[in-house]
């Protein structure tokens, strides 16, 4: 692919970078990334990916924009309240970068549809806010060998890990089972500082770009933990669980599971 004049100008500051160049930009323009959830994590993540020129971005969400979302979900704007989040996201990305082809998936991921949704993407970014979906995405990515960039946020803390199935640990190597419903407060109950969501979402975009470019060291087998109050990061090594129920050589989970939805994402519909 040859970059046109506008593209050379638009992406000049990253083409200049060592290890990016025209070939790297080509890779970015040809990459396909799925962002699950256009909320606190997905919103900044999708914006940075779009700005960098990721060729195809899929957006998954079944909610509509609410006023309380705007404190952190910066892909949506005030006039968008009431609109489908996927449509709002698509509109904003189109305004930011016409190079990007946005595919909207206005649905909730389930064991029935997830494999079909993710099959055309190279990388999946998990921006969900509940455990059942998180485990579902993990299992589906392991089974279809897709890179998955997990992040989670709660109040003033966040964590992120990149999952390269079979190469490094998966989410279940870290947490074998979801917590029982109600054991962990959701964002609605616990609250979240918008900037924390932004930091983790942007880190997810950064991981995705590194994977696309094949540069640096992705957070494979490393859980990066952010503490906003002390403004500190630390990295914890996560080994692969050789008995992991999904990613080990002798998995016990071979079919996808829909855990009970306990985070009331449908409440306000």
């Amino acid at each position: 692919m040859n970059l046109n004049e506008q593209q050379i100008d638009r992406y000049s500051r990253q083409i200049i970078l060592p290890h990016v160049g025209g070939k790297g930009q080509d890779k970015i323009l040809n990459a396909k990334v799925l962002v699950v959830g256009t909320g606190g994590l997905g919103a900044p993540s999708a914006l940075y990916l779009a700005a960098a020129g990721i060729g195809t971005i899929g957006l998954v969400d079944c909610d509509k924009v609410e006023l309380n979302n705007l404190q952190r979900q910066i892909i949506h704007t005030t006039p968008d309240v009431g609109m489908l989040k996927t449509d709002s996201g698509k509109k904003r990305i189109a305004a930011l970068n016409p190079d990007v082809n946005v595919i909207t998936h206005n649905l909730r991921l389930t064991s029935k549809n997830i494999l079909e949704v993710i099959k055309d993407y190279d990388i999946v970014i998990d921006g969900t806010d509940n455990f059942p979906t998180r485990f579902l995405i993990n299992d589906a990515c392991v089974m279809s060998k897709k890179f998955l960039i997990h992040a989670g946020i709660f109040r003033f803390d966040g964590q992120i890990m990149t999952i390269a199935p079979k190469e490094g640990p998966c989410y279940r190597c870290l947490f074998p089972e979801p917590p029982p419903p109600g054991a962990v407060p959701s964002c609605q109950e616990g609250g979240i500082l918008g900037a924390v969501a932004g930091i983790l979402g942007v880190l997810q975009a950064n991981e995705a770009l590194k994977l696309v470019l094949g540069i640096g060291e992705p957070l494979i087998g490393k859980l990066l933990i952010f503490d906003a109050l002390s403004s500190s990061f630390r990295t914890v090594k996560v080994p692969r669980d050789k008995d992991c129920s999904v990613c080990s050589d002798h998995p016990t989970i071979t079919e996808l599971i829909d855990y009970e939805q306990f985070c009331s994402i449908d409440k306000n519909k």
């Binding site: 000049s12 083409i15 200049i16 160049g21 094949g214």
Partner: protein, 774 residues
Amino acid sequence: MFKLPQEVKEDSKKYGVSLKEFLDGKVNDARFKGVRVPWGIYSHRGGKIFMTRIRVPAGQINAGSLKALAGVCAKYSDKVAHITTRQDIQLHNVKIEDTIKVIDELSKDDLSPRGGGGNTIRNILACPYAGICPDEVFDVGAHSVALTEYLLRQDTSFTLPRKLKFSFSGCRKDCAGVLVNDLGFLAEIKDSKFGFRVFVGGGMGAHPKIGKLLEEFIPEQDLGYIAQAVKNVFYKNGDRRNKHRNRLRFLIEDIGMNKLVELYKQELAQLKENEHIVLRKITDVNKDEAKGGIPQNEDSDYKQFVKYNLFSQKQEGYSVVSLRIPRGNITSDELLALADLGNDFSQIEFRTNSNQGISICWVKNSDVYNLFLKLKDKFKNFLYSNSLLNVVACKGALTCNLGLCNSPALAEAIEEMIEKDFIDKKLFKKLEIKLNGCPNACGHHPIGKIALHGMVKRVDNRPVPFYKLLLGGRKEVEKTHLAEEVGLIPARNVVKFLSEFLKKAEENIDEGSDIYEFITQKAKTIAKEILENYSYVPAYSENRDFYIDWGRDSDFSLAGLGTGECGAGVLDMIEADLSLAKIALAQAESKDYGLDNLKIALFNSARSLLVVKGAEPKSDVEALKDFKEKFINASIASDEYRDIDEIYQGLNDKLSLDERREKFAYIKKFFEHVSQIYKDMDSTFNFPKRAASDTIQAQDAPSKILDLKGTPCPINYVKAKLVLEDLNSGDILEVLLDEGAPIENVPRSLRDDGHEVLSMDKQGEFYKVRVKKK
């Protein structure tokens, strides 16, 4: 005095870079080993901490350098330095990250561990009393130092097939053992001209050999030519692959002495025709005139000191004081105390010797008693140098990867026994004991009158520390003789055996007799008789002591024993990479042609040979680029691998199993191709060229012209970068740039990317810039 060549100082920066990459995890242990070992940095047993071997050319060191060494020893090591039989001084328990500080701080005082290990020109020996010895023909210290400076300037001195050891003796007493070094120079005078008799191919180690005569006489001004010629012959013909049989002496064994002499003569003739080799002339510092005799005193220690530690210099009024340093181990405080003697006795210099001791030279006779008092204040066991009590011992199994027995602890026990029973006896000055923890000869056992080297025997299904007894070793030019094997002694019995043997020896020698008469005629029989009583090892349940080595509490074990690092070098780095590639290929084949394994195999195959070309790629991308440039463009590797970097980039998880299998086949073929190139590499790291092909292109014509007039920064640079990406390495791009910011910035940025800016020509209001792609 020795001056550390600028080249070595420059090289240390490269070591610093490699060390940093290693610490950052960018370079693996096997590769870094190939870098550090030629810098005299060896791992201790266990591989976590390190020994740094500082070379002391001719064993000569002045007070200032000694002080610097004391400081570095205190700061970065376990505060106990070790003097080696090769006149080096080792620092122990150094952290790997501190090795660069040791190198940098010492280089200010002209000390360096460069060539202290690995396949290099090792420390060049000279008589410890060169320049001051009454018996010497002339001062060979200066030659040893000048030759060191000359050889350390050459990169090839650090990539030899195996180590190369030189020595200089000033007279036929042969302090430096010219027949037990790879190349030995003996001072002689012919037709009133200074020169050397030259010997080649000697050496100790586990397979010792006595050197052969190479030249009857060479004038001293030919020294550099002769050394260079022998080095070149070894460099070009030595077997780099067989690490256990590749010293110069084995080359001579393989090709014959006649062939070696022929090669040497050819090399020498070429050097004389093409090179002008002049070694630095090192002149003595003038010393004050001194007169007078040695002061008398009734102190009994002083009397022994005068008897055993003091020797007259050839210069009137001066003495040399030789200190015994038990097992060569000297603390940083003691080193500092020695250096500080320079404040009180201003002209003194120091010499290390192959008995692991230190001598103080240029002591005015009138100062001897005062010096003695100062020494007595700071040192415990310095009396009786060059005596039976001066047991030579290597560092042994506590630190050394190759060590079997804990030789220093045994040496200490032997010394206690000797101190109690044998001081001042007839044999006290005539006999010597050399001790080694394993069959390698750091403790110089092949030339020991009484020598022992460690070994292991299995008794009662358990390993038992043993020593092999050898007798009759001697270094004395043509009379040089290797110690002969007598029998085996369990380590536990060595002290008792020696005590009995020495008593018998004392009965059998006279004050005036030649000790070698006893050693060669009677000693073996006596030793064998005594051995019969000491060779039995009781069962473990009966007496556990035999199963415990000297200085240890627990049962003897070989835990931690590893392969030596001494030969680590370029070839090990290549082989480490090729073996990683091979393993990855095998794994890929057995496991669905996994991307990671394919990448590892391709990257390591491409990187393996780059070390020979001096390339140290920092990333996988760089390695593939370097390979293209240095092997494919240079017509060494086949052109069919021109797109390896694209193949590498294309290794992503979009590939189907069939596609990955295809890539695997390509990478495997590439690996085999590289392995073949490695096999074809000759001993001087040269590769046969492939037949000239279409790779040769017109040198001058640019592959592309890019007109960037009117294009602002940084878009002009971005466009140039994009065009360059599509060119092949070595292609030339002609860029037209505006004056001002564009011409100031763009060429610089392209250079930063590694491209070569060939020319910048002003053409009116713009510039024509020619860039060669990296």
